[in-house]
């Protein structure tokens, strides 16, 4: 429980750093000549999308461990990462249209990148729903869904290179203006730190729930024997 307190403090510090240092770097970064100020959404939109991909891969990895080795730890990791995928997916799908409305003039375009990203988010929501309401087979069903979600990730990433879309291509980050890089990479690192801490906290919650469930089973036997 002490380490849990430390994790909460670390999360709070990370968020405080996010509010203080990273916005300063983002404000200091030069304006993009075509899009202007609204391009600054990019500094958190891309890290959020990357965390969505990372969460989906972690969820799929945990699901593989659960499906093929019966690993309860893998299942707990998958459940935690699944929630984070939905959270960061939501952040990506909200910040993207806010950027698009100003840059493209529309909130949404049914192009390959946006549609496949929405599909990924829907699969991850289905993962959580199957887990919660799927009954005894829910965990296995959701683990299979996580594998489909992981397959969708490369499709989402490469969609802008394969099909013609309004979304910027994958070359945006490697060819970023050197004066924009400190802001981008600091935002990326911050988001990665926040993601790691959230995952650690969520796995701990899942472990505590498992401990409680095991103790409840033991308690039933003990209380029956005592009465």
């Amino acid at each position: 429980m002490r380490s849990l307190g430390t994790a909460f403090v670390a999360t709070a510090i990370a968020v405080a750093v996010g509010f203080l240092i990273v916005p300063t770097l983002i404000v200091g970064a030069p304006l993009e000549p075509v899009m202007g100020l609204v391009q600054k959404i990019f500094y958190f939109h891309v890290p959020c999308a990357t965390m969505l991909f990372l969460s989906t891969f972690v969820c799929a990895g945990g699901s593989v461990a659960y499906l093929f080795r019966g690993s309860e730890r893998g299942d707990r990791l998958a459940a935690s990462a699944g929630e984070l995928a939905v959270l960061f997916g939501l952040c990506t799908l909200v910040t993207g249209p806010l950027w698009g409305r100003k840059a493209w003039g529309v909130w949404w375009q049914w192009d390959a990148r946006l549609t496949s990203a929405l599909l990924l988010e829907l699969i991850m929501i289905a993962y959580l729903l199957a887990r919660r309401y799927g009954g005894p087979a829910g965990r296995k069903l959701s683990a299979a869904l996580a594998l489909f979600a992981a397959i969708d990730v490369p499709l989402v990433y490469k969609s802008v290179d394969i099909w013609r879309t309004v979304h910027p291509k994958t070359t945006v980050v490697p060819t970023l203006d050197p004066r924009m890089r400190p802001a981008f990479w600091s935002a990326f690192l911050l988001m990665l730190l926040v993601w790691s801490l959230l995952l650690a906290l969520r796995v701990r919650l899942e472990a505590a729930r498992a401990e409680l469930a095991a103790l409840e089973l033991d308690a039933e036997d003990i209380l029956e024997a005592a009465s």
Partner: protein, 93 residues
């Protein structure tokens, strides 16, 4: 009866064709670009979009942290209740 239906169908078709001929110049004009002077250009405040995007991300993360903390608090309370119930029941077999 059949003749009546045929004649009404012909009349309908003739009416539709006449309407199309009458509308044709208007429809054609709608396909052309016309210069408008003094039109107001749509200017969206970029600052609000940036603020909304950043605000949404941090509020979502903070709400998630709060939900985890509440879940942990609940589990901890249930564990405490269960342990005290077991203690009251006596020593474990």
């Amino acid at each position: 009866m059949k003749r009546k239906i045929r004649s009404s169908a012909r009349a309908l078709l003739a009416g539709a064709l006449a309407l199309l001929c009458w509308l044709a110049p208007t429809l054609a004009a709608a396909q052309e670009f016309q210069k408008v002077s003094g039109a107001v250009r749509e200017e969206l405040p970029a600052g609000r979009f940036v603020a909304a995007a950043y605000g949404f991300i941090w509020i979502a993360v903070l709400l998630y942290v709060v939900s985890i903390a509440r879940g942990l608090g609940r589990v901890r309370k249930d564990l405490g209740d269960l342990k005290s119930k077991l203690d009251r029941a006596g020593p474990r077999p």
